[in-house]
Symmetry: C2
Amino acid sequence: MVVDEVTDGSLDRLFHALADTTRRDILRRCVQGELSVSRLAEAYPMSFAAVQKHVTVLERAGLVTKQRRGREQLVLTEPEAVARARQALDELEALWRGRVERMSHLLAQDPRTADHDPQEGQDR
Amino acid sequence: MVVDEVTDGSLDRLFHALADTTRRDILRRCVQGELSVSRLAEAYPMSFAAVQKHVTVLERAGLVTKQRRGREQLVLTEPEAVARARQALDELEALWRGRVERMSHLLAQDPRTADHDPQEGQDR
DNA sequence: TTCATCTACAACCATTTGGTTGTACGTTAG
DNA sequence: CTAACGTACAACCAAATGGTTGTAGATGAA
C-alpha cells in the first residue's frame, strides 16, 4: 500500500511519458482492455516501431507492463502509476493551500477574529 | 467549474513542464510565495539563463505567470493549471474504473456474449 | 516444413531540449 | 549621471526525442 519511494527520476519519467498525445491515447486504449502492440499500431499513422518505442516509454515510466500471449505482447495498464503522478500534483496543491492558510493567518493576527477563507475556495 | 477546453497541445506542454525535477522544484518554491527569477536562480547550480528558460517552459504551460515589480519579474503560480493536469489523470482513472465495471458485467453475463471487437473503427 | 505474423532492435536522421556564454536594455541606487 | 542589478534574447553545443527503414528471431498456422 505504501506507494514505494517516488524519486525525482521516476517522476521525470512519469510526466514525460504523459507529455505526448499519442502515448496518452495508447494509455486510454489499453486502460479499457489489453491490446497487443500490433493492434495498437494499427490505430496510428506511424510505423510499428514508432508505436513500440512509445510503449517502451510508457513501460519505463511504470504506466504499463507487457505480458506475452503466444507471439503477441499484450500491453497492460498500471493504474498505480497514475496514482503516483496524482500524488505529486496533490503535494503541489497542498503547498499552495498551505500558503493560502499562512496568508490568512497573517491577515487575521488575532486568533479570535480568524474567520478564514478569502474566496479562494476548493475545486474538485 | 468548466475548465476551459483542454487541448492535446496544452496537455503536452503541461506534462512536459512537469517532467523535470528543476521545474517541479521551481513550482514548489513559487507556490509558497512569489520569487523573482534572480532569486530563483540563486537556488540552482546552473546559469541564470537556464533558470529563465525553465520559467519560460512553465509559463507556456500555464503553470506560472510573471508580473513586473520594478526591475524584478515575480513568478506567480497558477494552481488551476495543476487542476487541469489532475483532470486528465482523473479521466484515465475513470476509464479504468469503467473497464472494471464492464468486466463485472461480463462476468455476470452469458459467456457467449463476451466477444471482443476486432476492428473498432477509428480514424483520424 | 514453410509461410505469415508479431516482436525486438540497430542504424540513421531531423528536431527539440537543456545547458552554456555573451550582449543589450530598462530600472533602481548612490 | 553612473554603476549595479535584473531581465531578455541570440548564438552555440551536446544529448535526447520522435520518427524512419531494415534485419533478424520467435511463434502459430497450413
